[in-house]
């Protein structure tokens, strides 16, 4: 009996046992570049040298300084090593714990609201509905504006005395003097609402990924009787695993280090209800507690690394199913 390849067997209409996990992995397209040809190694290394030097000076050295000084009591007056004292202080510092919780809240808002909203919009607009180009442009516009500028706009929108939100609520017959940003109950969601729906980048990346899905897959689904919605749910969405992972990483990294918007709108108040880790680090730096601020920075870096590794594994980022 001659050996039959799975493809040939399928062509022959033969039933084969399901492929093994290793075989499934083998069929996935791993997004990696080819190895350089022989003899190009040294020139490539030399070409990379300036970038590596700049990377070392402007990233690795500061990173090293942050890590080393996080082990010290460092301030305007001087530096003395206290080793892990800053880190043990952090976990008994109520402001740090609050900042950690608030940062987690912002991350969750990004992952569970911004990413799904962006992916949903990407799928909907990829259906080429009427006016999709205009809608895509309109929805992407807030991403062109900086978070700081958006925060200034929202300061006016939320202002209890003359803000647009209260004016609309007043016109609808509701109480029109609520201080959204400085009320203990509304401060955190009010700050999150200023950016959580600006999912233009997620939408664009999703649309680009959908455009790369081979038409044959949709043709096959159509032959099987799948409608537009069924195709979106059972074909498109599963194939977006990779880009959803990428978007989740991007959103998480942006929210873990969220600073400018909250600094402008509330400075972390009221009573630390909107304080983030990045802002707390800045506040401690401004107070002359540079070592403590850098310890918070090290925690931020650690959380960022854990998030990247976890999401890469969870979503198998870098591998496509088509």
């Amino acid at each position: 009996m001659s050996e039959l390849s799975p493809m040939a067997a399928a062509d022959d209409g033969l039933q084969l046992s399901p492929p093994s996990a290793a075989a499934r992995r083998g069929r996935r397209r791993v997004l990696a570049l080819e190895r350089p040809t022989r003899g190009m190694g040294v020139p490539i290394a030399i070409s990379l040298l300036p970038a590596l030097v700049l990377f070392s000076i402007f990233f690795l050295v500061p990173l090293g300084v942050v890590i080393v000084t996080s082990l010290s009591d460092w301030g305007p007056i001087g530096l003395s090593f206290t080793w892990l004292a800053n880190f043990s202080d952090l976990f008994s510092d109520p402001a740090f714990i609050t900042a950690l919780k608030n940062t987690a809240f912002f991350c969750a808002a990004g992952v569970f609201i911004q990413v799904p909203v962006g992916v949903a919009l990407g799928i909907i607009l990829s259906q080429r509905i009427r006016g999709w180009k205009v809608l895509r442009t309109i929805y992407f516009l807030p991403n062109i504006v900086s978070i700081a500028a958006l925060a200034l706009v929202y300061l006016s929108v939320y202002n209890p005395r003359y803000g647009l939100l209260n004016q609309i609520l007043g016109a609808l017959g509701f109480a029109a003097d609520h201080d959204w940003l400085f009320d203990l109950n509304t401060a955190l969601p009010a700050v999150a609402a200023t950016w959580v729906f600006t999912a233009g980048v997620v939408m664009i990346l999703t649309m680009a990924e959908i455009a790369a899905i081979p038409e044959e897959i949709y043709d096959a689904a159509a032959v099987d009787g799948a409608s537009g919605w069924t195709q979106a749910r059972h074909v498109t969405l599963p194939l977006l695993r990779n880009v959803i992972g990428v978007c989740t990483i991007l959103v998480l990294l942006a929210t873990i280090g969220y600073f400018d918007g909250v600094y402008i709108m509330t400075s972390g108040g009221p009573a630390n209800h909107t304080l983030t880790l990045a802002l707390y680090s800045f506040q401690e730096y401004s107070s002359g507690h540079w070592g403590y601020a850098n310890a918070i920075g090290v925690v931020l870096i650690g959380l960022g690394l854990i998030a990247i590794v976890a999401i890469r594994r969870l979503f198998r980022v870098g591998e496509r199913d088509f």
Partner: protein, 438 residues
């Protein structure tokens, strides 16, 4: 690609990258200013608080620019100020900047900031002690009002800055809005203030403009200072914390909270942004605001009508000498000599009077203006200055002896306290902890 071509490309890339790096380095260097001029005669001193441009609506910048230019003109060939303007966007940024420069020994020859910032910077040992220069020139020393140097000195008798103002900080009120509410005169007691608050609210006016920071803390200061023992607390005890144990502070804090809970303040009174308080007052929407004499220029610029300026209910007045001082990081005797010449020039009667006319900010020196000079001064602010000797309680501003952390904590916790998220004790303990943290 041939091997030689590949190597050629790589080397060319390196040369270009190296050139770019060198260009970056070149543009960042240079421009250093030595304290002494190259000629050996004219001493050049650097100044980080001397503006090179002055918007017309910023009277302080206009005065400072004209003042250092006048100094250069007067001492042409002997001393020259070379401005290196530092423009902070916040008090925190300014404080951090000067403290870092003090720590690294890179302070400019002249700069100005709040006296508590200067005191903190002086701990690094790089701020010039001007006490010996004052001792050398007794006439200059005696030209200042008593306690003029208290804000910028330490227990060892070292003095780290020269004051340039004495401010009597009262309460502005809109006479038209008072009349509309049927109120004949400014309240003289705190109980009367609350009664007037109800009348103003009923007439559709915001009774008191506050911001959750500067203006709110001025009222806290007034509430403390107009109680027996309040002046002592504000002068000598506020820097030590333990506020919850002091009944004067507890009473003042709870009254201020009551003003908020009874709706006596604007709805955006928690922003921590001065504009939240200034804007409704200047627009004629709020009836009262606590602020210093420098606000008269804003009132004039905005055209706010029928404004009066009074001492606090309870017959008190915040009087601050040396809230901001000029200091120096000069390292050599020639620069020190030039710096002292500048400080004497700045605190001369002529310059202090000019400053009062231009900015509404008054002098820290023993000086009585002539009748013709008085006519040139702003009547609103000068009225309060001239009344100061008659006031029952005079006391410094609470910001005078508290840290930046105290202010940050206040902005952070005040909304929570007013909304009932913290008790008075918890709020005051948080302020004490912030003050003790400095």
């Amino acid at each position: 690609m041939k091997s030689t071509t590949r190597w050629g490309c790589a080397l060319a890339f390196l040369v270009i990258a190296g050139g770019l790096l060198a260009a970056c380095g070149g543009s960042g260097g240079g421009g250093g200013t030595s304290s002494s001029g190259g000629s050996g005669k004219e001493v050049v001193i650097t100044c980080e608080s001397c503006p090179t441009t002055a918007p017309k609506d910023d009277p302080f910048s206009v005065f400072y620019k004209e003042m250092w230019e006048a100094f250069n003109e007067k001492y042409k060939g002997t001393y020259r100020i070379e401005p290196k303007p530092f423009k902070p966007t916040s008090d925190e940024e300014s404080a951090e900047h000067f403290e870092r420069e003090a720590a690294t020994g890179t302070l400019s020859d002249l700069f100005t900031d709040q006296s508590n910032v200067i005191r903190s910077a002086a701990e690094a040992g790089t701020v010039l002690n001007i006490a010996p220069f004052l001792e050398e020139d007794s006439a200059w020393k005696e030209s200042f009002v008593p306690e003029a140097f208290a804000s910028a000195s330490n227990e060892a008798g070292e003095i780290f800055g020269v004051p340039e103002e004495t401010d009597s900080i009262g309460i502005y009120y809109n006479k038209g809005l008072f009349a509309k509410a049927g109120i004949g005169s400014f309240p003289t007691t705190w109980e009367q203030l609350l009664e007037d608050c109800s009348k103003l609210k009923a007439s559709g006016t915001i009774p008191f403009a506050m911001d959750g920071d500067w203006v709110t803390q001025l009222m806290w200061t007034n509430l403390i200072g107009t109680q027996p023992g309040g002046e002592k607390f504000l002068k000598h005890e506020i820097s030590e914390g333990n506020y919850a144990d002091n009944p004067i502070v507890v009473k003042a804090t709870e009254f201020l909270k009551q003003m908020h809970t009874e709706g006596c303040v604007n709805s955006d009174a928690f922003s921590g942004n001065y504009e939240s308080a200034a804007a409704p007052f200047l627009a004629g929407e709020a009836a009262m605001i606590a602020n210093g004499p420098w606000m008269t220029s804003e009132i004039a610029a905005e055209g706010t009508k029928e404004v009066g300026y009074e001492r606090s209910p309870g017959d008190g007045l915040i009087v601050v000498t040396g809230s901001a001082v000029w200091a120096s990081g000069a390292h050599d005797s020639e620069s020190e000599e030039a710096v002292i010449a500048f400080m004497k020039f700045l605190t001369s009667e002529e310059e202090m009077f000019t400053k009062a006319v231009k900015t509404g900010s008054y002098w820290p020196i023993e000086f009585t203006p002539s009748a013709s000079q008085v006519k040139k001064l702003d009547p609103l602010s000068y009225k309060l200055v001239s009344e100061t000797p008659e006031v029952k309680y005079t006391y410094p501003n609470s910001k005078f002896d508290t840290s930046q952390q105290f202010s940050t904590e206040w902005i952070n916790d005040w909304p929570a306290y007013v909304q009932g998220g913290m008790s008075t004790e918890e709020f005051l303990d948080a302020l004490s902890a912030a003050q003790e943290k400095q």
